[in-house]
Structure formats: structure tokens, C-alpha cells
């Protein structure tokens, strides 16, 4: 089994508009999806959700405020899963709730430290 980092990107404006009740509604599909991965023993690390605000530190010492890419492609969070191949990892990502709100999942294999 290999490990894969799933990176979730979505429109950063989306979360900000949600009421607490709507937030609750957003949480359930995430819990169900991650619970489903965990039930298959394929969740290696439950990762984290990331705050919208951030900073970027550059090589010349300049610090800029984020977001740093298109607002619509802002990093929202990540998890690590176990899968036999990149193809399987991508297949498992299809159930991710981020897809239903216009976001996307980037799947990258983790290279073990030598």
C-alpha cells in the first residue's frame, strides 16, 4: 500500500458565505466520506482544514498576504489516504464532497523518506 496526499482546492469565498446551520450541513458529507474511507482502513491521516487567510514568504525576504493563487483555486485542506496505485487513489477521491461545490482534488503520491 502506498500513501497519497489529497489536496482540496475550492473557491475561498464559498466557506465565508455559510451560516452555522449551513456549515453543519456541509460537515455531514465530509464526515460520511472520511468515515467511509476510514471504514476501508484507507485513511492514513485525517489531515486538516485550513484557514482562508495566509501569508507567503519569498526568497528575498518579502512576505505577502495570501491567497496567492486564483481565489477560486485556494487550498482548503488535505488528508492522506492509503491506496494500491495512483489510479485507485484518484478513484477514491471521486466521492469527495468538495467536487459537489465546484472544487477539485489533487492526488499526489507520497515518496517515503529514505
Amino acid at each position: 500500500m502506498n500513501e497519497f496526499l489529497l489536496i482540496f482546492r475550492r473557491d475561498a469565498g464559498f466557506d465565508a458565505q455559510l451560516t452555522p446551520a449551513q456549515m453543519q450541513e456541509v460537515t455531514k458529507p465530509w464526515q460520511d466520506w472520511m468515515g467511509g474511507l476510514a471504514a476501508q482502513n484507507k485513511l492514513a491521516n485525517s489531515g486538516a482544514r485550513l484557514a482562508v487567510d495566509g501569508k507567503v514568504v519569498k526568497s528575498d525576504g518579502v512576505i505577502t498576504n495570501g491567497p496567492y493563487v486564483e481565489v477560486k483555486e485556494a487550498l482548503g485542506g488535505f488528508i492522506i489516504i492509503r491506496a494500491a496505485s495512483l489510479e485507485e487513489a484518484a478513484e477514491l477521491s471521486k466521492g469527495c464532497p468538495i467536487l459537489s461545490t465546484g472544487g477539485n482534488v489533487e492526488v499526489r503520491q507520497i515518496v517515503p523518506m529514505q
Partner: protein
Amino acid sequence: MHQDQLLPHLYRTEYRKIIAVLARLFGFEHIQIAEDIASDTFLMASETWGKNKLPDNPAAWLYTVAKNKAKDHLKHNAIFTKKVALHVKTELSQQHEIEIDLSEENINDSQLQMMFAICQPIIPTEAQIGLALRILCGFGIDEIADAFLSNKETINKRLFRAKEKLREHNVKIEFPDANEINKRLETVLLTLYLLFNEGYYSISGNTNLRKDLCLEAMRLNHLLIENKATDLPAVNALFSLMCFHASRFDARIDKDGEMIIYDEQDTSLWNDELISRGTNYLIRASRGEELTRYHLEAAIAFWHTQKADTIEKWESILQLYNKLLILEYSPMAALNRTYALAKADGKEAAIIEAEKLTQLTDSHLYHSLLGYLYTGVDNEMALQHLHRSLKLAKTIEEKNRIRKNIKALG
């Protein structure tokens, strides 16, 4: 109490106290001597009480005999006494003679410290449970063998090796430092959790023994709650979990000792007092931010004490299983989550998720679950899975239950 019941009863309640106090006094490396003295004391009781009148206070009689035997041993073993004297120096204070303190307070302290001494990751979990049953609960070797569906010789060997290992690692009977307590408690709680489960889920046919295992796990857990330093959220959560499970003792086993599954239990037999105790301890467990698997399992068990079969109940259970699995995978949690999903979102949704659990295809429980899920949706598939389950099941009780389900379908 009748006389021939009295001694076994006292053995169960007093043996462990004598042994904990003596072993703490002598040090873990001399635990064998403490065990011998405790056993000799009971041997003497069985010989004396049979011939003469029973003492007015049998427990006090046992304590006196044990004390005298311990003092004799110290007197007649100069070398041993020297070593032990070094060990107990701090406790000796100004006294010339070693005091053997069998007060309730010292007994409780000794048992708590013994709990930490035994629950060490350096010995296998089943050896920890075995030692706990022997030393902390005063179970006989034959009872432990019965609980583990093993034989006396295997259990004796297992306990002997475990004690050797603890001696080699110079394990002390003492309370862990404050900064160490959380980490050490993890092992203690896991052992108590497994001790309880051994009783609750064991396939041993001895119903009384199984119940005793559960009650002992609860007693030891409560000792930790009574002690201020160990009265922590996770400890309360585990106790709450045990109360909720124990509330169904009388409903889950029929008069022939057969298991009755949750769905078919007579809910009027559920024990309300234990349910409300469980609720109280769950509230006590909610202090602070810590959320352990015991919190989640206790919350799941709480929802199971709710008799009404509502969507809210099963949706709550589903979300708790999601959290539990995200925290820590276990095959049972994966199966139970899928069952909760069927109750909350319907069998079709659950079948899709169940078919993904390919890591469990060798488990008879997995195929029993699929048998249940396909029943009414696709009875042909249900039968296939039940037959597969029947092939994989190991005990007669399980096979009988599956056959009953097959018969109900056909």
C-alpha cells in the same frame, strides 16, 4: 451465607487485598512470596474453619493470619528481610517492626499501584489481563483458563513468563509521576477495556463468570475514579461505556445462555439504574477538551440505550462511528458503522459502502451483515452471503444463529 460458600467468597474479595498490600511491601520482585503467603492463609482457613467454629470476623481472621505469616517470613529469612527492609525503609518510619497495614485506604492504594505495575506494554495484552485477573481480582487459574477458553497449564506459563518479564524490567509497585500519568493510564485503560470486553463478548459458555469479568473491570475502573490523580475524563468515559453495556446484561442472554441480538432484546429488561449512572459519568467525562475513543464509544453506547428507533438516533450513531473510525480503525467499528448507515440512510446506501470493505471478506460477521442488508433488497444475494458466513463461522452458537437467518429467508 453458608459456610462452604463463605470461603470462595472471601477468596474472591480478600485474596487480592492481602496480595496487593504484601507485594507492595516486599516489592514486585518478591511477588511470589506475597502470593504464597496469601495462598497459605486461605489453606489454613479451610483447614481450621472446617474443624472449629467459624471466627466472628472471618476477614479480620484472614488479615491476622496473613500478617503473622508475613512477619514470620521476615523473621526467618534474614537475607530477604535485609533486602526488603531497604525497600520499605521509607515506610518504616520510626517503627522497629515492619507494620503490615491492611486498612481500606492502604488496600486501595496498593491495588491502584499494582494496576500500574501490571499494565505495562512490555508484556502482551492477554498476559496483562491474566495478571489483572489473578492478582487484582483474585480469580483462580482455572477460572482464568475458562475465560480465555484455554487450559491451566497455558495460563500458568503465561502468567509466570509475564511476572519474570516485569521483574527483569525492575517494575516498581508505585504510583506514576504526575507528568507520566496520562501515558501510563492509556495502557491501564486499554487493559480494563479489554478485560470488560473479554467478559462481554467472550464465547465462553460460563455466563456467571463472564458477568464477573465485567463487574471486576468496572470495580477497578471505579478505583481509578475514586483517586483524585486518576479521576480524568477518559477514565470516566470508559466507566460510562461499561455502565451502558452492563445495563443490557439481563436482556442479551436468554435462560439457555444464548445471545439475544440487540434488535430482539426485551427492552424492559434494560437496567435503568445503570443507564442513568452511565449518563452521569458521561457528563463527568465531558470536562475539558479531550475526546478519546472511550468518549466516542460511550456516546455510541448512550444512543443504544435509547429505546425509540428514530432517524436521529441512527444518524447520531453513524456520525459517532465516523469519528471513531477517523480516530482509529477497527474491523468491528467498520461493520457497525455500515449497520448504522443502513438504519439512517437505508439498506441500498449501506450495501454500496459494505461492498467497499474488501479487507473484511474473510470475516463471517461481514457476510452476516451483507446477508442482513440484502434481505428484502435481493434475497438471492442475501442467501449467498449467509451461506458464506455459515462456512466461515467458528462457534456452534454463531452457526445456529446464521442457520436461523437462512431458514427465515427460505
